[in-house]
Symmetry: C2
Subunit: 327 residues, 2 copies
Amino acid sequence: MADIGYPTLKQLMYLQAVIKEGSFRAASQKLGVSQPTITSQIAALEETLGMVLLERSRSGTIPTAAGRDLIPHITNIETEVNGIREQARFASTGGSGVHRLGVPPTLGPYFLPEVLSEVHTTDPTLRLYVREGTPRELENGLLDGRYDLILTTMPVEIGGLVVEPLFGEPFKLCAPPDHPLVGKGKVDASAIKGERLLAIEERHRLFEQMQAMANQFGARLMRDYEGTSLDTVRQMIGTGFGLAFLPALYIRSEIAPRNDVTVLEMSETPSDRDVVLAWRPTAAKRQLYRSLASQMRRICRDKLADCLHVAAPQSTSVPGDGDKYPS
Amino acid sequence: MADIGYPTLKQLMYLQAVIKEGSFRAASQKLGVSQPTITSQIAALEETLGMVLLERSRSGTIPTAAGRDLIPHITNIETEVNGIREQARFASTGGSGVHRLGVPPTLGPYFLPEVLSEVHTTDPTLRLYVREGTPRELENGLLDGRYDLILTTMPVEIGGLVVEPLFGEPFKLCAPPDHPLVGKGKVDASAIKGERLLAIEERHRLFEQMQAMANQFGARLMRDYEGTSLDTVRQMIGTGFGLAFLPALYIRSEIAPRNDVTVLEMSETPSDRDVVLAWRPTAAKRQLYRSLASQMRRICRDKLADCLHVAAPQSTSVPGDGDKYPS
DNA sequence: AAATAGTGATAGAAAATATCTATCACACAA
DNA sequence: TTGTGTGATAGATATTTTCTATCACTATTT
């Protein structure tokens, strides 16, 4: 839009006040500036826009048709500016606002419900907008700003992020109820040597961990029947397809309340997967994120200690993090 | 809303550009200002609002949650500001805009349809928002800015207005079809001496004119049966209640097409009512209004000369109009 | 008729803000 | 190691905003 200049917000507010008060002097008193300020700023506005906006007389002033036409626009602008200021006010009173949290689908849905209620009670102004993605997607999304922080599992591959350990999540061997190993007490590693184990799809980080566990016990993964989700894997176990290692939070959430799958106890347990919260070192709300991580650890210690190994309360950073930003 | 300051429009536009372009330098190139200008203006905005709005790094910048939350507001403000500029552009290309025209209910509905079509064809950007009122209401409304201009009849009682004569509107005597005077040729004034005439309600200027005409011919107004509108008066004439003087434009619009009322021809005719267009001497668009008055006279001369006495093409001002504003 | 009180406009000075150039410190890529 | 990108800082300059003092005019009051 060529030729026509830009008004300033002050000019528009001065015009609105003159129209409302009916005179330059009344408006100047209302706004706390001098009357010549109002006169000159409105003259400048009229020159910028190329329109006469007010009819001036010695008994006061009324808007022209052109001036009147601007009023709805100015009212809308005022509303938006006050919306901005309201958000600023909200932020200044400690409001935490909306933050986008990325989570893996094999973890988020089984962990977040355990903690978000208390997080929200503690800070009603903090709202977490949760979205799922694979660890690769989560890390890339954190880097390019699509997430503000992510819940993920080690290893975090992109350098330079702040990484706060939350807990280690054990895996447990699950079998159909009529499997020969059920009811036989602790299962030795030799019992599943050569056994074919079910697994989730390869694109999940969890697949690699399932692969590592199978290798650890001399078992093999069935590559012909991969589950698209943990629920699918559970269903396959329940219908007698085979055994699988499943994560503890999933078991607690989706298997413990049922009896279609039996959780076996092994004499030798596979390694935990280490769950962490991560964010950019430049994040404006990094103090808030650190507090959030601490709170999540505490809730895990209070409520989930029987099935998780809660991490020690200190952060680490992945190599590449400079001294510039305290984590 | 205490404490929180006001952003400026430029600051908001700088923030929006940085978020969109992904870096201060790209935004400064896009906006044609130097990069330190962007840096310092956004820092000032963050201080005004008390919020960190951007995460800065050496690879560019992304908005914080607080910064992102401002984007819809800034977009709305930009839209409204461009709406203002669009109106300015429209005005600068000769657009006439919306003007509020006050008219008497005994005249406006019978006159405006004769002229507004051509007025609109001549200037499609001129829109007249028509509202009715009594002459007293019209003059007061013009003074306090509720109307931009008014169609009214003389005398204009408030001083200091610009008054452009349009035409003189004759009155004609109307009778029921079976009245003894019907079919008797021209009616002498003596024929209605002592006759009781119908009239409109007293609050209309027209009532005074009907009173004057009755006095002129030695007749009397019926005060027991006043019509609330010209249509009501016509209906009363048609059902044999009596005679009345009615204005020529009303007759042309509402009676000529019917045969329930007969228009008599008198050897002595009553005075016209003088119809004028009036506006404030300070009106920004007074040149437009003068052109409008000229055009209305010309249309009356072209189309309505058989029933109106069109005024000469020059304006007069009611005493009280200073030399300050050309009319 | 004179004085007073209100209006918006103008002139020039002062204050405040915005923008500039030059340069810095840092990180990353070649 | 060098070159190229980023945002930040310092100080100067330019521009804008606001002020005080006063004007011209009109309407009201005395």
